[in-house]
């Protein structure tokens, strides 16, 4: 509803190659969700956990707006909304919290694990949720455990909420029995069906103890120790990786398991660490890999040579750009990420075309100007930007689906490619 007055663009630094190349660091308006949004998939993953946000009406409205579309029942998340009484000190926040938690656990007998999730207002007024969690854990043991983490927008963007949640769980994991051999911990939320596929592949490779984190049931926490090798399934788990390493676990570096090549490289990192013979690995993975390649080939005609522009959103941007470039022949022009962890991204970064421009952080207005100048064939962006860009004649893929849909592994490679191909096919088909 406003006239747009274009501003001068800062000159983009030369992109000479992605590994050590300069990264455009931007500061300005960030058009991203906060970490509370992770609750949308985390609560589906851990089926007897409840997420209690200690926040404001905005927090409740955010989660509802991000999730309400997809699920609607008495959900396993809620918001304890701070009111003026709490802020003015007329009510003791800790007493209020105890009351709310007691009522909640009474109403929901199936809940075994309760997360107290910090928000912007609870952080700003400095409610000590970690201490509250210890107190409440003592009160409600052994009926339910209580763990605190922050999903606030002042500290986390979108997927960092999962990182913050898992990192808070790591200190509660049992110490792995050092006498048993090495174990594999796949870290990062995956769709159940994908977990099952990976489980089968690891089993056929003869990798003995494979656990997934987060787990499906609250009391099924994996043990961790110096014998643990962990493989990140999601790229946004910096804190969790650090916390696992602090427990002695060792991270296996690999590209993230998107597409045929990505899945192979990821699985191979585990196979190599567990001494799986190359012949066996190839035998186990060849069928699924061939299926994935066939599925990708179908979409390559649509996608090859097309230029793709990523707005920062979930930190999946770099691995997905790698997948689109390496496996489908797309040309990533801009790859924005809210936060760049070079160490975790190194294997994917090394596979990105040298001309790719990386940006970290966000100034949404400048990015929009850049996007309009570049007129990419496909723009990957959040829900707030997708329709406005479509209305300007650009083709978009809304990024939240890349998180909510099962996309990892061989059997989903074709589905993942289709998510990017569909908007292009649709635009080509429509005659109105």
């Amino acid at each position: 509803m406003n006239a747009r007055v274009p501003l001068d663009l800062r000159p983009a630094p030369d992109a000479r190659g992605c590994g050590p190349s300069p990264v455009l660091r931007e500061r300005g308006q960030r058009e991203v969700f906060c970490g509370l949004t992770s609750i949308v998939w985390l609560h589906r993953k851990i089926r007897d956990a409840f997420f209690l946000v200690v926040g404001s009406r905005t927090c409740a409205h955010l989660i509802q707006s991000a999730a309400g579309v997809m699920i609607f029942a008495e959900p396993r998340f809620a918001t304890a909304i701070l009111t003026e009484r709490d802020l003015a000190g007329m009510a003791d926040v800790n007493e209020e919290l105890d009351r709310v938690v007691a009522r909640l656990l009474e109403r929901r007998p199936e809940i075994k694990l309760l997360f107290l999730v910090g928000s912007c207002p609870s952080e700003v007024i400095k409610i000590d949720l970690a201490r509250a969690a210890r107190r409440l854990s003592a009160t409600h043991a052994p009926r339910a455990r209580v763990v605190a983490y922050s999903g606030s927008g002042i500290e986390t963007t979108f997927t960092q909420g999962e990182d913050s949640c898992l990192a808070a769980l790591v200190p509660t994991l049992a110490e792995e029995d050092p006498s048993v051999g090495p174990s594999l911990l796949v870290t990062g939320s995956l769709a159940d069906i994908v977990e099952d596929q990976f489980t089968r592949l690891f089993a056929e490779c003869g990798i003995p103890r494979v656990r997934f984190f987060p787990m499906r049931a609250a009391n099924d926490l994996p043990a961790v120790g110096p014998n643990t090798r962990f493989l990140l399934a999601q790229p946004f788990l910096s804190e969790t990786a650090r916390a696992l390493e602090a427990r002695g676990a060792k991270r296996l570096a690999a590209p993230f398991p998107f597409g045929a090549a990505g899945s192979t490289a990821w699985l191979r990192a585990a196979a190599d660490a567990f001494g799986v013979a190359p012949g066996l690995f190839d035998a186990v993975t060849s069928d699924a890999r061939a299926r994935a390649e066939t599925a990708l080939a179908r979409h390559r005609t649509t996608l090859a040579g097309k230029r793709v522009f990523f707005f920062p959103d979930s930190q999946l941007e770099i691995p997905l750009a790698r997948f689109l470039a390496q496996e489908l022949g797309m040309v990533p022009t801009d790859v924005g990420t809210p936060y760049l962890n070079r160490q975790l991204m190194a294997p994917d970064l090394a596979l990105l075309p040298a001309a790719t421009r990386l940006s970290e952080g966000q100034d949404v207005e400048r990015q929009l100007e850049r996007c309009r100048l570049e007129r990419p064939d496909l723009t990957v962006c959040g829900l707030g930007l997708a329709n406005p860009l479509e209305a300007e004649g650009m083709t978009t893929k809304w990024s939240i689906e890349l998180l909510f849909a099962p996309t990892h592994g061989y059997e989903q490679a074709g589905d993942l490619a289709e998510l990017f191909a569909r908007p292009l096919v649709r635009r080509a088909t429509l005659e109105v």
């Binding site: 007055v5 969700f33 905005t58 955010l62 707006s65 029942a73 926040v93 927008g153 829900l383």
Partner: protein, 514 residues
């Protein structure tokens, strides 16, 4: 601390965003943490807007808290002005920024911008979305309206349409319908606001002869102020339903000094005949539960009995500001009243009342789906499917036609219901056969809609059914069986019966028989 699962209203700053997003050449700078930009998707996705809301967010992070969030805010205001060149800038703080006490009003004024700056105090920890919309509209009117001046001599009287916003339930079409109705009556529309108005339009609100308040939740404070400041009277009747539209025409004609009987404004009003035609006989006495914002709940309460011959069993609203009016409406209909913004409370009430039709928001649509009750949506909050491509007003005579279609469609057709009763033992019409036009399988109808059923409220031990009574119950058509079972069990419980026999069933039927 209030425990909240799903909310009917967003925070007050979302109300402010609804107002400015509906307007032209007005920009809002919201002091808000990273993440609050989620609000944009309400407009771009749910309402399918092709433009971003005209809102700049400061999106401060923890590292900014140690530095200078006030400077961040000023930079955001300055850049927003330079980039968008609006006619007016609105500044406000969301809940977290309110805690920082950065004083957006003072900071924005200090920039000395060449356009009016309208500061808002949104009381995020006390107030909600509709209040925020009303407050924003009121502040804009106060801040932008030109001083009172002599009205020009005009051939036709002029009114303003007040209250429609972005993301409003059918506001887009209501505005068109009411403008047409007024045109037929001989009244011109001066300014429609906030939806579609620029800052310059707001400046000339005072030029009209009177105001039409379409949505009191948003428009009432502004209309009351305009009455005081400019001597403009405003309408009290919300024209939803045939009766209210007639009353509205009379009221508007009165304010405009016109004779309403001179013109035929009813044109294509079909609801009266559709309701009187014999097929509609089966609608008689259908038990209806009504819930929504005050405007739409009150309107539906008026219409269900007078224009459909339904029976309102429950009437409620989440708009606490209008609790008194809704209570009075419910009492007049001898219906139960519910003032609540707790979705579980509403669900429990719907389950207890066994209505045959639910008229509500998207929350009630889900409740009704879970309970297997037909439902039509009558009020915000709504979802994307309630922003139809076709013209579909709620107000005026065409709006009444829309009400008839959309409220009756979810029900079984009259003849179908009749046949089901007659042939209920035939294989095609067995117990689980769903209404043919709903195209759902019997399983889908019976199955709970989600894997997580609500935990039932603890009740005293229910009476047990004898085998014979249970068999008799099965002979009752399935669409009223739930109510028959509930009523019989209530009847038995109230009398302390341990078992329910066939005769208990019929005693209860006689007791509750309508």
């Amino acid at each position: 601390m209030d425990l909240t699962l799903w909310t009917y209203e967003g925070p007050s700053h979302v109300g402010a965003i609804r107002v400015v997003t509906g307007m032209k050449h007005v920009h809002l700078v919201l002091h808000a943490p990273q993440g609050d930009t989620y609000a944009d998707l309400l407009f771009t996705m749910i309402e399918r807007r092709g433009e971003r809301p005209p809102v700049t967010y400061t999106t401060f992070e923890a590292r900014d808290l140690g530095a200078d969030t006030a400077e961040l805010f000023q930079t955001a205001v300055r850049e927003a002005y330079e980039r968008f060149r609006p006619q007016a800038i609105v500044v406000a703080a969301s809940c977290t920024a309110e805690l920082l006490q950065d004083d957006p009003a003072g900071l924005a004024r200090a920039l000395d911008l060449p356009v009016p700056v309208i500061p808002l105090e949104l009381s995020a920890y006390r107030k909600k979305e509709n209040w925020g919309a009303a407050e924003t509209f009121y502040r804009l009117a106060r801040g932008l309206a030109a001083p009172k001046r002599e009205r020009q001599q005009r051939v036709r009287p002029v009114c303003n349409l007040l209250g429609p916003t972005a993301l409003g339930f059918r506001h887009r079409d209501d505005v068109l319908e009411i403008a047409r109705l007024l045109a037929a009556l001989g009244v011109d529309v001066g300014v429609t606001a906030p939806l579609g108005a620029s800052a310059e339009d707001i400046a000339r609100l005072g030029d009209a002869d009177f105001n039409v308040v379409l949505y009191p939740e948003v428009a009432l404070p502004t209309a009351q102020w305009l009455e005081k400041a400019y001597g403009q009277p405003y309408t009290r009747v919300v024209p939803i339903g045939v009766g209210a539209t007639r009353a509205f025409v009379a009221e508007a004609a009165g304010l405009a000094g016109l004779d309403p009987s001179r013109v035929d404004v009813e044109g294509n009003s079909r609801l009266p005949w559709w309701s009187r035609s014999v097929d509609s006989t089966y609608l008689t006495g259908k038990r209806v539960f009504v819930f929504g914002d005050a405007t739409h709940a009150l309107a539906a309460a008026r219409v269900v009995e007078a224009e459909f011959a339904f029976k309102a069993v429950g009437v409620g609203t989440y708009s606490r500001e209008f609790a008194r009016e809704v209570r009075e409406a419910a009492a007049a209909l001898d219906a139960e009243c519910l003032i609540a913004d707790d979705y579980l409370e509403v669900e429990a009430k719907v389950a207890a009342l066994h209505p045959e039709l639910v008229l509500g928001t998207q929350m009630e649509r889900h409740i009704a789906k879970r309970l297997g009750i037909p439902c039509a949506v009558i009020s915000a909050p709504v979802h994307v499917q309630d922003f139809p491509a076709r013209y579909s007003p709620q107000m005026g005579f065409e709006g009444a036609n829309v009400l008839f279609d959309s409220w009756v469609h979810p029900l079984m057709m009259g003849l179908e219901e009749h046949l089901l009763t007659m042939f209920r033992d035939d294989p095609e019409f067995h117990d689980g056969a769903p209404p043919s036009h709903l195209g759902r399988t019997a399983e889908a109808l019976r199955a709970p809609c989600n894997a997580e059923p609500p935990v039932p409220a603890p009740a005293s031990e229910p009476a047990s059914w004898t085998l014979e009574a249970e068999r008799e119950l099965k002979k009752i058509p399935f669409f009223v069986r739930g109510r028959a079972r509930g009523n019989t069990e209530t009847f038995a419980r109230e009398r302390g019966f341990a078992t329910i026999t066939v005769s208990t069933l019929y005693e209860a039927k006689a007791h509750f028989g309508r």
